[in-house]
């Protein structure tokens, strides 16, 4: 077993443990952990089974097999980032709807006499 295999195995296992621990402690939602766990497992399998790595590298015409590990990791990272971009866009839309509804609701409450007029303290927060 080469040193790079050991490094990759340790890295993948540490990543796996970290992600599972984050989920267990409620820092990471299960649905956002799936891609991380999948990438850790893929790296782990390819690092353990050197013959599998070499075979795939042969198929793809990658002359230096260990660099395939980088490729796999890179593709997973791209996938994870794309996933996050989609999630952020969805949050953006949900955020927008919430802020719009709050504005309309506040106005409705004010018109119903249930809310005093804006006092000046109740302004936008530029810290965000």
């Amino acid at each position: 077993m080469y040193l790079y295999q050991i490094l990759a195995i340790v890295g993948a296992v540490v990543l796996f443990i970290f992600v599972v621990d984050f989920v267990r402690r409620g820092l990471l939602k299960e649905k956002y952990s799936v891609l991380w766990l999948a990438s850790a497992l893929a790296i782990l399998v390819l690092a353990l089974k050197k013959r599998l790595l070499d075979t795939i590298a042969g198929y793809l015409g990658v002359s230096y097999a260990p660099s395939l590990l980088f490729l796999v990791a890179f593709l997973f990272i791209m996938l994870i980032i794309l996933h996050f971009s989609v999630v952020i866009s969805i949050f953006h839309d949900k955020n927008k709807v919430l802020i719009q509804e709050i504005a309309l609701l506040k106005n409705a409450l004010k018109e119903a006499g249930l809310l005093p007029p804006v006092s000046g303290k109740d302004k936008g927060d530029k810290s965000t």
């Binding site: 989609v86 999630v87 969805i90 953006h92 839309d93 949900k94 955020n95 927008k96 709807v97 919430l98 802020i99 719009q100 509804e101 709050i102 504005a103 309309l104 609701l105 506040k106 106005n107 409705a108 409450l109 018109e111 119903a112 007029p117 804006v118 000046g120 109740d122 302004k123 936008g124 927060d125 530029k126 965000t128």
Partner: protein, 274 residues
């Protein structure tokens, strides 16, 4: 992700409507009770939407001008999370002030106005920017064209005729690209696609309250309307230069503007609207 990653529909709105539509009812009740009790039924209900972000230098003047020229219209200032005194100054007048908690951009700001217009049953919504560049004296021109031609939207154009507006070289080139592109897509000549001075009819208000582009929405909104099969007309207007405050458009942003809007137009053409 609830409603699926691509086709997003306001879940909160639907939830509230199922729960008995609190915002719409309260807003309607407020209007029916105290605003414009002497309006006859036949006249269209007109809402002037004034989007404003940090416009404390201009907002008072804009509200006064709109009140002078459109005494029968209702005014809704949509304060997009300003951190200056825009909101407080607007509150001093007898107008509806819808305040975003945080800055959300012009698209979301206008959409809040359209949501309000839709909930309160307004027939016409006119956008008049809070920076004072849209002449209140010409609001009536837009409304007249909207009613005469039965169009769904009327855009106040700086280029139809006799207007003295001369944009800078770069800006003019960008505007020309957009107007040619949109004219080709729509199949009708549109000279000023970036003008925010526009009047929307009832169908437009309903549509925009559920679909409105986020940032730099003017050009994209026209393409969406066309896809929806709604008609767009232009009316000549003259705009004044800014009297105070500063524009949100910088050179770097205008490049982003071009790229983003062009991309958005092509994606809109591929989008499926319900």
């Amino acid at each position: 992700m609830g409603s699926g990653p691509w086709g997003f529909e306001s879940p909160l709105r639907h939830h509230l409507q199922r729960q008995g539509s609190l915002p719409a009812h309260l807003a309607l009740a407020g209007h029916a009770l105290k605003k414009r009790p002497d309006m006859s039924e036949s006249k269209p209900k007109i809402l002037i939407i004034i989007p404003a972000f940090n416009e404390e230098a201009n907002i008072t003047g804009v509200i006064r001008a709109v009140k002078t020229h459109q005494p029968n219209a209702h005014i809704a200032v949509v304060n997009d999370g300003s951190w200056d005194r825009t909101g407080e100054l607007a509150e001093l007048h007898d107008v509806t002030v819808l305040s975003h908690l945080l800055n959300m951009g012009i698209g979301a700001t206008m959409q809040t106005g359209f949501k309000y217009a839709a909930a309160c049953g307004f027939d016409i919504a006119v956008q008049v920017d809070g920076d004072g560049q849209h002449p209140a004296s010409q609001i009536q021109d837009l409304i007249d064209v909207l009613q005469k031609t039965d169009a769904d939207m009327v855009v106040g154009s700086r280029f139809v005729s006799k207007s003295g507006y001369r944009p800078s070289m770069a800006r003019g080139a960008g505007m020309a690209v957009f107007s040619h592109l949109v004219s080709i897509i729509i199949g009708e000549k549109v000279t000023d696609t970036t003008s925010g001075f526009r009047a929307s009819g009832r169908r437009c208000i309903e549509f925009f309250s559920s679909h409105y582009p986020d940032d730099y929405p003017e050009v994209e909104a026209l393409v969406l309307l066309h896809k929806k099969g709604y008609s767009i007309k232009e009316a000549p207007v003259q705009m004044s230069p800014r009297t105070g405050g500063r524009s949100s458009i910088t050179p770097l942003r205008s490049i982003y503007y071009m790229v983003k809007v062009l991309l958005a137009i092509f994606i809109d053409l591929m989008k499926k609207l319900d």
